[in-house]
């Protein structure tokens, strides 16, 4: 849960100073790529999109330009890559990219957010957005390359067809040089699977980070785009209006990120995996397809044990995954022989392949994480799909070998592989199994809504489908500000978190660095940096207003696509099956949930 200092919630309506930002933003590059004709057009940033970045920009473009009822895998859908407003500046932890489209998984608007190096690379080239339109003829495949000067070209890439992401990135770096950032799809995206991700290369050029959620890899696949390749040596970033003020504010903010115990000490040593112990201790770790809140033997897959194993074998925590990161929450996992297995093994992945399947072996989980990255799959949607298949009796819980075989089936695109690759709802439907922990077909994350009710509100109401990064409330529970088991206060906590997250995703600040905004000096410095970048003094409500505007655009699109409040509900079993050890069900009422977006 991200909490802004109170100063950022002061009521008022001061917005970005559009006139000043218009002058400057017009210098930014806005690229439209028509895959049907293989043509590329550079434009000034259209007026309605001025002053926007990241999720705020992708969602506004989709709400404006994409027919809400269109087929997500048809030519009318658009796939948009947009770095955050501050990506490419010297502010730490701002290499975050938003990828947006209408989702083939949820049918809603979708923003899928990834780290790595590409957001900073696009920022250094002064590129605001790349809009992929139309679709190539069936069987055609291209690479979109942006060179050091910001020139874009579409390159036929049939030779890369069917290639997995690690081999692909290897070949692309050989072709285009080592200073190259890649976002790409694997076989899952080419098969148009609904769990297909878009993988993003990290500082070591491993495609281990992902815009994973919502099946946007399938949108990229159907358009005939295998990879976006961007030169990292760009030197034409958007100007900072007041560079001195920006530099000073950025320095203070970086200090605060280092001083915060979570971002400065905890994450470099344990990574997000440190949450395994805490969420199990709170009885909220959905296990065995969300039938238990504590995984017996969770100690084996805890962040503490992960760190111990990684240090014994080489690799380890404290790894820098994204450009300009000073937190280093990432990691490198080696096998017993000291050979590379995977990077960026995160809490949610450990939960999906560990807790949900009952597999308590980090070597198997790391292997499954690698396979997802290599095939181009959302680890969460895939792990939960496997768990539903196990719950339905297709395979046994705790069977690591069966899990690996199921992922290989997805990689080969077999009949069963295609069902598994479409996620938990498709698997539930195939086996006529009703316990499907998903909202709008997208799997929940590693916080059970019966033991963390506010996260349930976020899963149900987020315009994205079930999504923890859309508004996580765990920080409120751990800081003793809210009782996780009671319905009171949960809607408000989810609302505030959803607003904050939508703003951070638009600005391009990593949400783990955003935790530092708790300190008033950090909040003030961050606002100062944003003001200095845009050349206009921002009022204290500018950031939440940005979040609210983004959520409103997303809700509007979903309404036009046919979604109503009745879709903003959890699956029935969360209301009926009590979760041990607390033996609670989800109790926030529908009427309360319907007020989540009463801004």
């Amino acid at each position: 849960m991200l909490r802004f200092p109170a100063v950022l919630y002061i009521a008022g309506s001061q917005d970005l100073n559009k006139k000043q930002s218009q002058e400057k933003e017009k210098k930014m590059k806005f690229i439209r790529v028509d895959m049907s004709r293989q043509s590329i057009r550079f434009e000034d940033v259209p007026n309605p999109y001025l002053g926007l970045g990241g999720r705020g920009l992708t969602s506004t473009i989709i709400n404006t330009e994409v027919p809400p009822k269109c087929d997500p895998l048809g030519p009318e859908n658009k796939l948009i890559f947009a770095p955050g407003l501050l990506s490419g500046t010297n502010l730490v932890n701002t290499s975050r990219i938003s990828v947006g489209a209408k989702s083939p998984l949820t049918g809603t608007i979708k923003e899928s957010n990834a780290g790595g190096t590409i957001a900073a690379a696009l920022g250094h080239l002064g590129i605001t957005a790349i809009v992929i339109e139309g679709q190539a003829a069936k069987g055609e495949m291209f690479i979109l390359r942006i060179d050091e000067k910001g020139e874009a070209s579409l390159i036929p890439a049939k030779e890369f067809k069917g290639m997995r992401t690690y081999s692909l990135v290897d070949k692309l770096l050989k072709a285009y040089g080592e200073k190259t950032s890649v976002m790409c799809i694997g076989p899952a995206g080419e098969y148009l699977m609904k769990s297909a991700s878009i993988q993003s290369s990290d500082v070591d050029d491993h495609p281990c980070r992902a815009a994973a959620r919502g099946g946007l890899g399938a949108v990229m696949g159907v358009k005939g785009l295998k990879a976006l390749v961007v030169d990292r040596r760009g030197k034409s970033p958007d100007a900072i209006a007041d560079p001195e003020a920006f530099k000073e504010a950025a320095k203070i903010f970086a200090q605060k990120v280092k001083e915060n115990p979570f971002s400065g000490q905890f994450l470099p040593n344990l990574g997000t995996a440190g949450l395994v112990a805490a969420v199990n201790s709170m009885g909220a770790f959905p296990s065995y397809n969300a039938t238990k809140g504590v995984l017996p033997g969770w100690e084996n897959i805890s962040g503490e044990n992960l760190t111990k194993i990684m240090k014994e074998r080489g690799g380890g925590p404290g790894h820098m995954g994204c450009s300009q990161c000073i937190i280093h929450c990432s990691n490198v996992f080696m096998d017993k022989q000291g050979k590379y297995v995977t990077s960026s093994l995160e809490y949610e992945t450990i939960w999906a392949f560990g807790g949900m399947t009952g597999i308590k072996d980090l070597d198997t989980i790391a292997r499954l994480d690698f396979l997802c990255d290599d095939i181009g799959l959302d680890t969460m949607n895939t792990g939960v799909a496997l768990a539903v298949a196990m719950d339905a009796g297709y395979k046994k819980f705790e069977d690591g070998q069966a899990a690996i075989e199921m992922l290989e089936e997805i990689g080969r695109g077999t009949e069963m592989g295609k069902v598994l690759g479409d996620g938990p709802a498709a698997v539930g439907s195939r086996f006529n199994h009703l316990r499907i922990p998903a909202v709008k077909n997208q799997s929940i994350a590693a916080y059970d809504p019966r033991a963390m009710q506010g996260n349930g509100v976020t899963y149900a109401t987020s315009p994205m489908g079930a999504d923890h990064t859309a508004g996580n409330v765990i920080g409120q529970y751990m800081a003793r500000k809210l009782d996780p088991l009671k319905p009171e206060g949960q809607v408000k906590a989810s609302r505030n978190s959803q607003i904050a997250m939508a703003a951070m995703d638009s600005i391009g600040l990593c949400i783990l660095a955003a935790v530092a905004l708790e300190a008033p000096e950090a909040g003030a410095a961050f606002l100062k940096a944003l003001s200095a970048k845009l050349g206009t003094p921002l009022g204290p409500d500018a950031i939440p207003q940005l979040g609210i505007r983004t959520l409103q655009a997303e809700r509007e699109f979903n309404r036009k696509a046919g979604f109503t409040n009745k879709d903003d509900r959890l699956p029935e079993f969360f209301y009926k099956e009590a979760l041990p050890p607390h033996n609670t069900v989800f109790t926030v009422t529908d009427a309360e949930m319907d007020t989540t977006f009463s801004f």
Binding site: G293, G475, R480, D483
Partner: protein
């Protein structure tokens, strides 16, 4: 009374002798509260440690019970 405390994340670094399987045995006067335990261990309540017993996040003013097993964490914000 005696309380057993398990330390997670970086908190264990404060206690070089700490072993994760055994935890930390703490002697504390009868009637002590959660805040007293944190003070005894030298862990500041702000920006935050989280004290969990039997799945419940304990408020600082809650009285401790002899023989309890307590899990102690940094405040975390999600992954």
């Amino acid at each position: 009374m005696k309380i057993t405390v398990k330390l997670f994340g970086e908190l264990k670094r404060r206690f070089p002798e700490y072993h994760p399987d055994q935890g930390l045995d703490v002697e504390i006067p009868e009637g002590s509260k959660v805040a007293d335990l944190l003070a005894l261990l030298g862990i500041p309540t702000s920006p935050g440690a989280t004290v969990i017993m039997e799945g419940r996040v304990l408020p600082l003013e809650e009285k401790l019970i002899n023989g309890s097993l307590i899990n102690l964490f940094h405040v975390m914000y999600g992954g």
